[in-house]
Symmetry: C2
């Protein structure tokens, strides 16, 4: 039996109203928020009052409303505080500083010291990168509202634990607690699939649709799913483990120990393997794994036969696997995201679309739009920072009964004065 | 951007409150409903007032509440009206009459005249079966509140159209409109996957968990998904098309025209094929397809080698396919439903569990309970009748502004009299 409290609904409505302000090209009125969200004007007025009180929104001018009194226009108060997004990837850590409008202010990337890195080494690297952010004339911003941390693999969010990270064979690493000893700010832990999907929901394709699948292609591969405008996590936050579903029975060995996983075909190392199968001596292979993918993209654009075939095979693997994923979720939009998809771009999108068309059910196809991610820069740092924003919006100090009491007291004072 | 109106929330809360009454072993108090649903007492009191007014609930005695005033206990008013569930399966139509407590009162099953049946023949068979229900001393019940109709394949619910039914190659058949000419009651069209899942949500495993996958094994195969206590339909009601995801590349031909689909291995005809691969001359094959499955179940229980191996292979196919499905959805519970699962029972469950354990990710497994459906009788007719119940609960005449106005007027009269 579901337990949806009035507080859950209020929280969700607060997110929706704010997403609507973020999505608009300029300041918006309460009426426009009500129209876009389907919430009543009274509810929106109430939510906006809270968000103004908390300094998250500010009034940015007025519009005429045909004879009525002018409508206030609202915008995000970018200077209310800063957010940090941390993307712990397989070989490096990227840390970005955002204002509250989620504009990148500064960015630092540091390599991880070794391939089989220990948790304490990752913590050191993160701390060094965050301190690198302060290394400017302005120094540390006065209000850092929180940092989101994305770490590959299975994450237990509430406890802030990296339950399992296949790349480094980590198990039950209390990463948030380790970081909390060194970083003085609220911390939110999740994985790159969830971060990339939340970025898409707030700043990409999710602005237009509620049912969305985001496929992320990097060193790891997986899917993020938005259902009815909310991130779908499953029972233990491991929904979307598409990278380790079986594409080809008894196929390529996967680093997870199974065979034929999607990830063994369309991840960075999967694409390297495809190139190697095509031509063991290909000059495309003279680079690290990420470099090979970049070379393939460039060479394919120039018509290199091996590179073109590598893209075609990758599209074939990706399309076959995506067709099944789409038959199960029947989303309005499939987004191809992650830097591998960025790098291979339109040619991958076009050929994948053809393979999906040949393999998915007609009903799935009719509903579907397939597109590359349009989220700028790194969707994972952006999504991680968005988790910190969501955490801040959830904060009972800011929006809970205490704040409500404060508002009521202020209103009472205003009436009696 | 989601459009969740106050009315949507109210509707959902009404369903939740009523599901809670259905799930209880006896009459329940408003306090118990509030505790089970997480709704406030005031909200529950309001919903209960509506449901009492509409005659859906009735007061069934009182309980002492330690010195306070006695709490009224509530139960479903079984006699408020009748509901009909119609299961159009591949070779027959089953029609059942339910009271409002969803107890089966009468049941009629008629064979379909031919394998490649036309829509008008199906309509005739349904009408004959429904008329068969009245063929008792009591005749037609006074208040038939609606009928749910389950038809295989892709269904467009709002329009009541069978968009595509692969078994009969139907396309865009306006089944609800055709039936409306002959049956004088509200009609609700959907497919057996959705019906079986709704039955599970109201009367089976969904009473205990909110995130649920129901795999249905019959002539067709598919999955129904409940997310956060609500049926997940996808963009065009085709989510859960698991039967036509690929289990084995270039594997068995499927009736959908693709190769290696899950359905080609674990449906009725898939199991017949497995038996034939094991022993072309097996006496198990001396029956129609459904009969073969029944024979396999019986012979396996007696230790017949071919039958045991057929069950083992079916479990292997099912487990491999289910592992991927579970990795994607990460549900709390997987229910094996449909009559094929009922027939093969515990041995199939046990062996499938072992295969899933070998193929799914640890995080998926940890969260998961695997069980056979415990929904009594035919979950599809029950689920179809539940759609009719949901439709009745959605009815604006009963619960909309008109009814609210009526209630308000009555309350005003009571105050002035």
């Amino acid at each position: 039996m579901p337990k949806r409290t009035a507080q859950d609904i209020r929280r969700r409505n607060r997110f929706d109203a704010l997403r609507c302000v973020f999505a608009a090209p300029g300041p918006v009125s309460r009426q426009e928020i009500a129209a876009a969200t389907g919430l009543s004007f009274a509810t929106v007025a109430n939510l906006v009052a809270e968000l103004l009180e908390a300094g998250v929104l500010l009034e940015a001018g007025h519009e005429d409303s045909k004879g009525g009194r002018p409508r206030a226009r609202l915008a995000v108060n970018a200077d209310r505080g800063a957010l940090i997004g941390i993307d712990v990837a397989e070989t490096s850590v990227q840390v970005e500083l955002f204002d509250l409008a989620l504009t990148v202010l500064r960015s630092v990337r540091l390599p991880l010291p070794r391939a089989d890195v220990r948790p304490d080494e990752v913590v050191e690297t993160i701390v060094a990168a965050v301190e690198g952010l302060w290394d400017t004339a302005e120094g540390r911003p006065p209000h850092v509202l929180g940092a989101g941390v994305s770490v590959p693999g299975l994450v237990e969010r509430e406890g802030g634990v990296s339950v399992f990270s296949p790349y480094w064979s980590w198990r039950d690493v209390p990463l948030r607690a380790l970081l909390a000893e060194r970083l003085d700010m609220p911390l939110y832990l999740d994985n790159p699939l969830k971060a990339g999907t939340v970025a898409e929901m707030w700043f990409g394709a999710g602005r237009e649709v509620d049912d969305l699948v985001v496929v992320t292609l990097r060193a790891g591969v997986g899917a993020g799913i938005a259902v009815d405008g909310a991130l779908y996590r499953g029972a233990t936050n491991s929904a979307g483990e598409w990278g380790h579903t079986c594409l080809i029975r008894d196929g390529r060995e996967c680093r997870c120990g199974r065979q034929g996983c999607v990830e063994a075909y369309v991840s960075t190392s999967g694409i390297v393997r495809t190139v190697r199968e095509l031509d063991e001596d290909s000059p495309l292979l003279d680079a690290d794994e990420a470099g090979v993918v970049t070379s393939v993209a460039r060479a394919a654009a120039e018509g290199d036969a091996v590179a073109c075939e590598a893209v075609a095979r990758t599209a074939r693997y990706l399309g076959m696997a995506a067709a099944d994923l789409l038959n199960l979720f029947n989303p309005q939009t499939l987004v191809l995201g992650g830097w591998v998809a960025d790098r291979l771009g339109e040619p991958l999108l076009r050929q994948t679309r053809d393979v999906i068309a040949a393999h998915a059910l007609p009903a799935t196809l009719e509903a579907l739009t397939l597109r590359l991610s349009t989220v700028p820069d790194n969707p994972v740092t952006l999504g991680a920072a968005t988790f910190a924003l969501e955490g801040f919006l959830d904060d009972r100090e800011t929006f809970g009964p205490v704040a409500a009491g404060r508002r009521a007291a202020r209103a009472a004072r205003a009436r009696t004065s």
